[in-house]
Symmetry: C2
Subunit: 492 residues, 2 copies
Amino acid sequence: MAKELTSRAENYSQWYNDLVVKADLAESSAVRGCMVIKPYGYAIWEKMQHSLDKMFKNTGHSNAYFPLFIPKSFLSREAEHVEGFAKECAVVTHHRLMKNPDGSGVVVDPSAKLEEELIVRPTSETIIWNTYKNWIKSWRDLPLLINQWANVVRWEMRTRLFLRTAEFLWQEGHTAHATAAEAIAESEKMVNVYATFARDFMAVPVVIGHKTESERFAGALDTLCIEAMMQDGKALQAGTSHFLGQNFAKAFDVQYANKEGGLEYVWATSWGVSTRLMGALVMAHSDDNGLVLPPKLAPIHVVMVPIFKTDEEHKTIIAKMDALKIEMENKGLSVKIDDRDNLRPGFKFAEWELKGVPCRIAIGPRDLESGMAEVARRDTLTKESIPQENLADYAVTLMDTIQKNIYQKALDFRAQHTIKVDTWDEFKEKIEQGYFLLCHWDGTKETEEKIQEETNATIRCIPIDTFVCEESGTCVYSGKPSSCRVIFAKAY
Amino acid sequence: MAKELTSRAENYSQWYNDLVVKADLAESSAVRGCMVIKPYGYAIWEKMQHSLDKMFKNTGHSNAYFPLFIPKSFLSREAEHVEGFAKECAVVTHHRLMKNPDGSGVVVDPSAKLEEELIVRPTSETIIWNTYKNWIKSWRDLPLLINQWANVVRWEMRTRLFLRTAEFLWQEGHTAHATAAEAIAESEKMVNVYATFARDFMAVPVVIGHKTESERFAGALDTLCIEAMMQDGKALQAGTSHFLGQNFAKAFDVQYANKEGGLEYVWATSWGVSTRLMGALVMAHSDDNGLVLPPKLAPIHVVMVPIFKTDEEHKTIIAKMDALKIEMENKGLSVKIDDRDNLRPGFKFAEWELKGVPCRIAIGPRDLESGMAEVARRDTLTKESIPQENLADYAVTLMDTIQKNIYQKALDFRAQHTIKVDTWDEFKEKIEQGYFLLCHWDGTKETEEKIQEETNATIRCIPIDTFVCEESGTCVYSGKPSSCRVIFAKAY
């Protein structure tokens, strides 16, 4: 099975596509640019959702649900917003089909044309702020801290499973505050929630930073982001948190009465992560044998494969495994016994490696005699012989070990592939080799664009705290003065 | 607050609409027929989702996600299916907007017309069975047991919050089986899961039964349903489970190799419940003071309201409440202290009654001295004085008592409003008073239609086990022979 996987060295991009499909995470659908998230992939997404949702609730947010459709006129209210999304909108124009007069199937019923077209939400600021107008009257209604789990549609021309799809699943937080300072603090709090989630659950180290003006969300005054490094040294934007100022409050006329009775426009944030995280997870850790999943997000922690020749051996081993399974489940692990009768152990081993199960346990007739079991670690591909009586505790500890090891490996990789670069020649050389380049930049859009034209690298962010970047120097491209370094990289 | 609520006696329908909005469950949006589910309403829906999801997983189902859009040609593949849904389809025809040449806002870009229109899914049988074609090759791939949590759109002309909206949230199970018997067993299993959920979580007794041919899902050979009685004696269909035969397998050419190597078409089921359950929950239990929520689905179990005059009293009472809150939370209850400083206790009482919180605890200065607390039950509106030291245990037991009491009340109500009727005159009289009528029916579509025309009553189902209905008699309308009674009622 694993043999069919393209290797990373051969073609990193193909390796990713192969892996997503072969590990049963997702596949393309009959609808252009839309994917089917398969049960195994969806189980990982559910774990992500569950952990994030808890973090949102612990920081005072409630979930709600707003309409899928946005009246076309709403989009136009905020000038930059419509500019940013108009070109990738799925537009509903009719509400009925009818039999084709020629008898073949159905056609759109021309008499069922909508008075105003509806846009399938690409993001929900406009419909939500139109609703907030009725919810916010006084300072007592603030802050309003709401999150939505939903599907959104952006008609992308080039799509890739999880990384860029026409429809994707996400959460979008939309908050309203009395002051700019509170809104800015909220946007910072939430980008930190994302970074914590990436670190503690996905085992992916991320850089928190500000986007440059040209990379900001359409309608935002500031966009914070988390950027992760993939194994090819490219960056992947894994989440964003926007300070929207009063732009949407003004566009939808949302004012509140302050304590003194005066009317003020409300301050806003929005923040989101999507099924794109699945792409980051796959690309950050996996290897040529398949997925490597961090235990915190793995649908199955331990898979057990019986090895036997006789029916008698089979029966005894399965009985032993059943008992071990219960013991491990009582300690909070998710355990599967692979007792399929039509496949050889070697095939099963390869399949569970492909699927990234953190720990594989094999028990054969000799292990039964000796009271041992063979334990294989997915992250290191190493094997150990462990007494069966210690197995449950061992597996629990192993999950923790693997979670930490995967993170450390990604952190080390990033450290090895992040360098300060001060000359344009070195920039051009290193950017082709897959690095995060910490460089001085003169702060102009022109330089940003020229660098992208020449190298395809973009400013991923102006980092906040991961790297010490505040120092004076001269722009790597223009030679003009600069007061801090930014991260340049090629990106997904 | 509660004063603004229309009473049930005055106008049951208006009472429902008032209640949904005033209790902060949902409201209409700017998009025709689409609702906003507000945080309090969504919290109840999340509890429903959580419990149902667990039940689905315990019965072997996995979640997955399929595209929002369905190519128009897919809908036409199954003749009855397209017939059933064509008239209420939201149709996406374009994928881009552009600036209006006259400078005002944006318009649909005519050059971005889709080659084939996409339908926003009204249900997902077609896109899913088109996918299953690639997933099912052999008997080893069966049964395939998948569920999806999603939004769907059916362009209804008359909408009501939760009960009938253009967009709604639901789950849809789609399973594939090797034999008809297995598929039928699955459809029965899942309708029973729904009935168990309605009974144990919603505290709503339901009748399980078969739909008549004319009420079947478009494309099904049999539709099982659960029907609940609302407080006006009307029926509400709360969930359906369909045996689809081989219709979709044939439409999408899904065959599997059986153990003997022969090719056979696969057998299918689908089953779903939606945010309509929220409407059933509201209408089944609530009263003229507001919501009555079963503790198993209540976002807040206990609300505590301090009663005080001095700052000193306030401080002491809140400290006591903080301690009680922790004690109750440790026993699994969700507790809120309503310490808002701008509202009187009476206003708070009314508001939490409106929101259906099962238990309200008030502590005032005299209670502090006596070590007591005033405990009010939402379901009976009775009050009791309880020692503070017993309060946490008392509240836990009370949740159980309330859950059972609400169910019993609904069960008794249904028993009182279900009667056998054998004459057409009595039928016409009783149907106007709000009853489930157990009647003989001659089994013909003609009779069913005529009864509906004359009385607006429909056959809710042919009950399976709730009522003893298998007996011979003569049709209440036509006088022709009948072998079992069915349930007639007016319905939502």
